[in-house]
C-alpha cells in the first residue's frame, strides 16, 4: 500500500485528511511546516504527497521541488485555495499529478484517491 505525506500549514486540515486516508487503509503522516515536512519526507519515505500550495514559510511548489530532489519518483496532489489556471499549470509543470480545490468536494477527493493512489 502506498504511503502519503500530508502537508498543510493548518494542522486541523492535515488531521482531517490523514483520517480520511485511513478509511482506505492508506498509511499517512502529517506536517504543517517545511522543516517537519522535509524531515518526515526523509524518514517516512512517502510515495505520495498532498501539498497545500499557499503556506507562509515555503510554498507547496518550492517544497515539491525539494522533495523531487530527494526522490524524483515521488508523486503529488496539490491543494489550492482558488481554481486558477496559472497555479494548475505550474503544478503540472513541476510534475504534480493532480490538484484539488478548497473547499474540497469529498466525493471528488474520494475519486482522486481511488484513481491515483489505490
Amino acid at each position: 500500500m502506498p504511503k502519503v505525506l500530508v502537508v498543510d500549514d493548518e494542522v486541523e486540515i492535515t488531521v482531517f485528511l490523514c483520517n480520511f486516508l485511513k478509511r482506505f487503509d492508506i498509511e499517512s503522516q502529517k506536517a504543517s511546516d517545511p522543516k517537519t515536512a522535509l524531515a518526515a519526507f526523509n524518514q517516512f519515505k512517502p510515495d505520495w504527497v498532498f501539498l497545500d500550495i499557499k503556506m507562509p514559510d515555503k510554498d507547496g511548489f518550492e517544497l515539491l521541488e525539494e522533495f523531487k530532489k530527494i526522490n524524483s519518483k515521488v508523486k503529488a496532489i496539490m491543494i489550492t485555495g482558488k481554481d486558477d489556471k496559472e497555479s494548475q499549470d505550474k503544478a503540472k509543470g513541476l510534475g504534480a499529478c493532480d490538484y484539488i480545490v478548497k473547499p474540497l468536494d469529498l466525493e471528488e477527493l474520494h475519486e482522486k484517491i481511488e484513481k491515483h493512489i489505490l
Binding site: E10, E12, I13, V15, F16, C18, N19, F20, K22, K102, P103, L104, D105, L106, E107, H110
Partner: protein, 403 residues
C-alpha cells in the same frame, strides 16, 4: 410500594428535550453572527444527543454550494471550517430538494433506515432509484454520518446538518429525532434572522460611505476655489483626528460617546471652511493684507458654513465645529466671542489643527514658519487663543513625534 420503587430505580430520569429546546431557541434569537449561532446549535446537539460529531453544511450564495461552516467532534472527525463543500447536484441535496426522491418523508434522514431499505428483499425499488439510494448512502459515509437533517426556509434548502453515531452506538430514537426536527426549524429562523441583520449592516455601511463621500465632495469644492490652500482641509482633518485620539487617551471623561464624537469631528474638520465658498474670489485669493471690510467679510465664513450645513439633520454636531472654529478661549474670537468651555470641544480641536497647518504651510506670498516656532507659538497661546486641554494634547503629540 415496593413495586413502584423498583420501577422508578430501573427507569433513568428522562431527558427533558423540551426544556433544552426552549433554552436553545432563546439563546439563538439573541445571536446575530451566523457562525456563532451554528456553533451554539451544534454544541446543543452534541451535549443533548451525545453524538461523536456533528457538522453543518450551510448554503453559500457566492459559491452556489453548501460549505462546512462549523463541525464539532473529536480528532479527525472534526472538519475544519470551510474545508469541504457539496455542490447542488450532490445526491444529498437532490434527495432533500426533490419531493419525488424524498421517499422516507420530510425531516431527518437516517442511514439505518436507508440501509435496511436497500438490503430488504421486499424492496421493489427501480434500478435507478436503487443506484440513487446507494449513492446517498455513500455520501453519508463520506461525512461519517448516521443522520442528516435538512433546514428549509420556505422551499429553499438552507443547510444540511449531519450527525455521527451516538457515543453509546445506539440508533437515534423517535424522541431524539423529534428534538432534531424542531431544533432544525428553529435554527432556520435564527440563521435567516442573522442573515437579515448582516444585510442590514451592509446597507447601513453603504449609506454611511455614501454620506462620507458626499462630505468629501463638498470639501473638494472648497479646495477647488481656494487655490492657495491645497491639501489644507485634509491635513486639518488628519491633525484633528490625531488630537481627538490623544484626548480620548488622556482625558477620557471629556466625551461620553467618543466614536460618535470622532465621526462628527471627521465631518466637521473636512467642512470647516465650507463657508468660504460664499466669499468673493478677490477676497479669498488675495495675496497679502486684507482691508477692514474684506476682513469682516472673510470672518463671516464660519456662519455661512453653518447655514449651508443647517440643511442636513446629520450635521447638527459637525456644525458646531464649523461655526466656532475661529472662537478663542479668551473670548476674543468670532463670530460669537464665546469664551472658555462655552466653545464646543469639536471646535476647540479644529482651532488648533487649523492654526497649526496654516502656520507651517507655505503660501504664495509667504513661506511657512519653522515647525519649532509654530509649536512655541501654540504653547504660548495655551488658555489664550486655545483651550488648555487641546494644547496639552497637541504638545504631547509633538513629543511623541506624531506631529
Amino acid at each position: 410500594m415496593k413495586k413502584s420503587k423498583s420501577t422508578s430505580s430501573k427507569k433513568k430520569p428522562r431527558h427533558d428535550y423540551r426544556r433544552d429546546l426552549e433554552t436553545a431557541a432563546k439563546q439563538m434569537i439573541l445571536i446575530r453572527r451566523v457562525d456563532t449561532l451554528i456553533k451554539l446549535i451544534l454544541r446543543s446537539i452534541i451535549k443533548n444527543l451525545k453524538v461523536e460529531h456533528a457538522g453543518l453544511l450551510l448554503y453559500e450564495k457566492s459559491k452556489d454550494s453548501y460549505i462546512v461552516t462549523v463541525s464539532r467532534g473529536k480528532g479527525g472527525l472534526k472538519i475544519p471550517t470551510g474545508l469541504t463543500k457539496i455542490t447542488k447536484d450532490n445526491t444529498l441535496v437532490k434527495y432533500f430538494t426533490d419531493k419525488q426522491l424524498r421517499i422516507f418523508g420530510e425531516g431527518p434522514l437516517i442511514l439505518g433506515k436507508l440501509s435496511s431499505y436497500l438490503n430488504s428483499r421486499t424492496t421493489r425499488a427501480s434500478k435507478e432509484l436503487r443506484i440513487f439510494l446507494q449513492d446517498l448512502a455513500f455520501q453519508f459515509s463520506l461525512y461519517n454520518a448516521k443522520a442528516c437533517i435538512p433546514g428549509f426556509f420556505r422551499e429553499e434548502l438552507i443547510f444540511i446538518l449531519f450527525l455521527g453515531q451516538k457515543v453509546n452506538r445506539k440508533p437515534l430514537n423517535q424522541e431524539e429525532l423529534g428534538f432534531l426536527s424542531v431544533l432544525s426549524s428553529d435554527a432556520v429562523m435564527a440563521i435567516q434572522n442573522a442573515w437579515y441583520f448582516q444585510d442590514l449592516d451592509k446597507q447601513l455601511n453603504r449609506n454611511k460611505n455614501l454620506f462620507l463621500q458626499t462630505v468629501m465632495a463638498l470639501a473638494t469644492a472648497i479646495e477647488a476655489k481656494d487655490k492657495y490652500t491645497s491639501g489644507h482641509t485634509e491635513r486639518v482633518s488628519y491633525y484633528s483626528l490625531l488630537l481627538a485620539d490623544e484626548l480620548r487617551r488622556t482625558n477620557n471623561d471629556l466625551q461620553k460617546d467618543w466614536d460618535k464624537f470622532i465621526q462628527d469631528l471627521k465631518i466637521a474638520s473636512l467642512l470647516h471652511d465650507i463657508g468660504k465658498i460664499g466669499l468673493r474670489e478677490g477676497v479669498l485669493n488675495k495675496p497679502g493684507f486684507l482691508t477692514d471690510e474684506e476682513r469682516s467679510e472673510m470672518q463671516k465664513h464660519p456662519l455661512v458654513g453653518s447655514s449651508i450645513l443647517n440643511q442636513v439633520d446629520e450635521f447638527n454636531q459637525p456644525i458646531l465645529g464649523v461655526k466656532y472654529h475661529h472662537e478663542r478661549y479668551d473670548g476674543e474670537g468670532y463670530p460669537e466671542k464665546l469664551k472658555g468651555e462655552k466653545i464646543p470641544l469639536i471646535a476647540q480641536v479644529i482651532a488648533v489643527a487649523d492654526t497649526y497647518d496654516a502656520m507651517v504651510s507655505d503660501r504664495p506670498y509667504r513661506k511657512g514658519m519653522p515647525k519649532d516656532q509654530v509649536i512655541q507659538e501654540i504653547r504660548k497661546n495655551r488658555g489664550r487663543q486655545f483651550s488648555p486641554v487641546t494644547v496639552d494634547a497637541f504638545l504631547s503629540l509633538c513629543k511623541q513625534g506624531k506631529i
